[in-house]
């Protein structure tokens, strides 16, 4: 069982749907410890991605082609911190997926590359109350699942579950990166919006994979 370009396209569409559906929730999370635009930024970005996908003359050949289009579109339409961070994540992921289909190891490589992109751009480590706190456990869970021989859909499902736990775990943290860090101790008690959106995107990936099974 592998995940092909159709899966990647489905993932993108589900991503657009979920960030639109959760737009207000993400805005509200960001309002509480940031500047209230995260949901708006991602909804705008993924709407643009879907628009460009639909304008493509033919279906891309490789998973990486889809992810590259996501990367460049987010980079040029999202702005803020999330634009370059997700842009770089998808760009790195696209380089790791220059293939027509991903097996479980391919999925792990994709997720590792994405996390690597976020960290390279944002220079945040785990525990700083950022999206890194969703991606780090997601990657670890994916590695473990793949090591146990799980198929790609289960690898993604494990990653999504771990991302959820990772996002929830940001609540008690003091932010030390990004806009929430300006609040100091007052950032405690709130979920990081970028961690939450990361979870949503990984859930979308897992759901697309489950639908492809």
């Amino acid at each position: 069982m592998t995940l092909d370009v159709a899966w990647a396209l489905d993932w993108v569409r589900r991503s657009a749907a979920t960030v639109t559906e959760h737009r207000d929730e993400l805005v509200e999370l960001d309002r509480l410890i940031g500047d209230g635009d995260h949901g708006e930024n991602l909804a705008r970005g993924f709407a643009a991605v879907v628009g460009r996908l639909e304008a493509l003359p033919e279906q891309p050949a490789q998973v990486g082609d889809v992810l590259r289009l996501v990367a460049t579109t987010l980079m040029s339409t999202v702005g803020g911190a999330a634009g370059p961070l997700y842009g770089t994540a998808y760009l790195r992921a696209s380089k790791a997926t220059a293939t027509s289909a991903l097996d479980s190891d391919g999925v792990v490589a994709m997720l590792e590359a994405a996390l690597d992109g976020v960290v390279t751009r944002g220079r945040a480590g785990a525990g700083e109350k950022t999206m890194v706190d969703a991606w780090t456990p997601a990657v670890a869970a994916a590695v473990e699942a793949a090591d146990h021989g799980a198929p790609p859909s289960e690898v993604l499902a494990a990653a999504a579950r771990a991302a959820h736990d990772g996002a929830e775990a940001t609540v008690p943290l003091v932010a030390t990166k990004g806009r929430a860090s300006y609040l100091g101790e007052r950032s405690v008690g709130h979920l990081d919006p970028g961690a939450r959106s990361s979870e949503l995107l990984l859930v979308a990936a897992a759901e697309a994979a489950a639908a492809a099974d």
Binding site: R31, D35, G79, T176, S181, G184
Partner: protein, 331 residues
């Protein structure tokens, strides 16, 4: 939420279009990607100056495009930094062959997007230098934050670097004087009310009728602490004291004093704050030789103010005094 806007999605573009129409003698508005440049275009041999950031801080930055200040300004979505594909063409448009200095307020989003844009522009052969403005003393500059934020001190950086570029300084020299302003400028702000980002539709934070937020940024973020409402003279002291301390100002020094409105504060209140800040500086033996009072770096309709102090020397004073002709600053 009541605002004089149409679709919240269109407010930035419509506003910049209106700005371009109202100031057609000064600026031209580029669409797709959106940026604002001097109407006369690049000045060959002059260092180009580009700034930008999220919208909602008007007149920053487009209001400072013109002779003696910026060559181009890049407006992002409301409170959201612009994207690299907006910034890179603005850098290219501002390049007169002597390179471009980008003036970036120190926010993760702005830093990352301008960084990428600079890489793109350099790939196209433009020499780019960047100065990060981080004048907000409300945020401790430590391992535990993204560093201090850039707030109203940005006006001083743009004005003074603009004057240096206009007199013909090369890129290193313009960057050096901009850095010198950054080193010598500090700010601190207070909010009496939150602001409402159009796409969010509700106030950026909830503040009781008898409390104020001290140490706010310019994006409707909550401040560092919430204190009971106090008379203006006391609030002014809360803002000025950490600024003076962080700058290490001592008696006999000369400064520029900027009392900046957050957008929804009447001018009369800004002058009440200015009056007290003058008195407090005088008590410390600090001489205010240049002043600016008004809405320069705003947070939409937020009520509140910030106090900025810039340590002056003869060169910075002369560059501040140099002619400027922009929509929001002119002499």
């Amino acid at each position: 939420m009541k605002k004089l806007i149409n679709d919240p999605q269109d407010v930035v573009v419509e506003s910049v279009e209106g700005f371009g129409l109202a100031h057609a003698d000064l600026v031209q508005v580029h669409r797709d990607p959106l940026f604002v440049a001097r109407v006369a275009g690049t000045v060959p041999g002059k260092v180009g100056l580009v700034s930008g950031g999220g919208s909602g801080h008007e007149p920053l930055h487009a209001g400072f495009v013109g002779v003696g200040m910026l060559d181009a300004a890049v407006p992002g979505a409301m409170f959201t930094s612009p994207t690299p594909d907006q910034v890179a063409p603005a850098i290219a448009a501002a390049d007169g062959g002597a390179g471009v200095l980008t003036i970036v307020k120190n926010y993760t989003g702005d830093v990352l997007n301008f960084e990428t844009a600079a890489e793109l522009a350099e790939a196209d052969g433009v020499t780019v230098r960047t100065v990060l403005v981080d004048d907000d003393v409300a945020v401790e500059d430590s391992l535990y934050t993204a560093g201090r934020r850039g707030v109203a001190g940005t006006v001083a950086v743009e004005k003074i670097a603009g004057a240096a570029a206009e007199r013909g300084d090369d890129l290193d020299a313009v960057a050096a004087v901009a850095e010198r302003v950054v080193t010598n400028v500090r700010s601190m702000g207070v909010a009496l009310t939150a602001c409402t980002v159009p796409h969010a539709g509700r106030p950026s934070f909830d503040l009781p009728e008898d409390e104020i937020e001290v140490g706010i940024g310019i994006h409707g973020e909550p401040g560092r602490r919430r204190v009971p409402m106090a008379p203006a003279d006391e609030v002014t002291e809360m803002l000025l004291a950490p600024v003076v301390e962080d700058l290490g100002l001592s008696g006999g020094e000369q400064v520029l004093l900027l009392v900046n409105g957050m957008g929804g504060t009447p001018a009369s209140e800004l002058y009440v704050v200015y009056r007290r800040a003058r008195a407090l500086l005088a008590e410390r033996g600090v001489e205010v030789t240049r002043s600016l009072v008004g809405n320069y770096v705003t947070s939409l309709e937020m009520q509140g103010a910030s106090v900025t102090v810039l340590r002056l020397d003869d060169e910075l004073t002369a560059l501040w005094d140099a002619p400027v002709h922009t929509a929001a600053l002119r002499w």
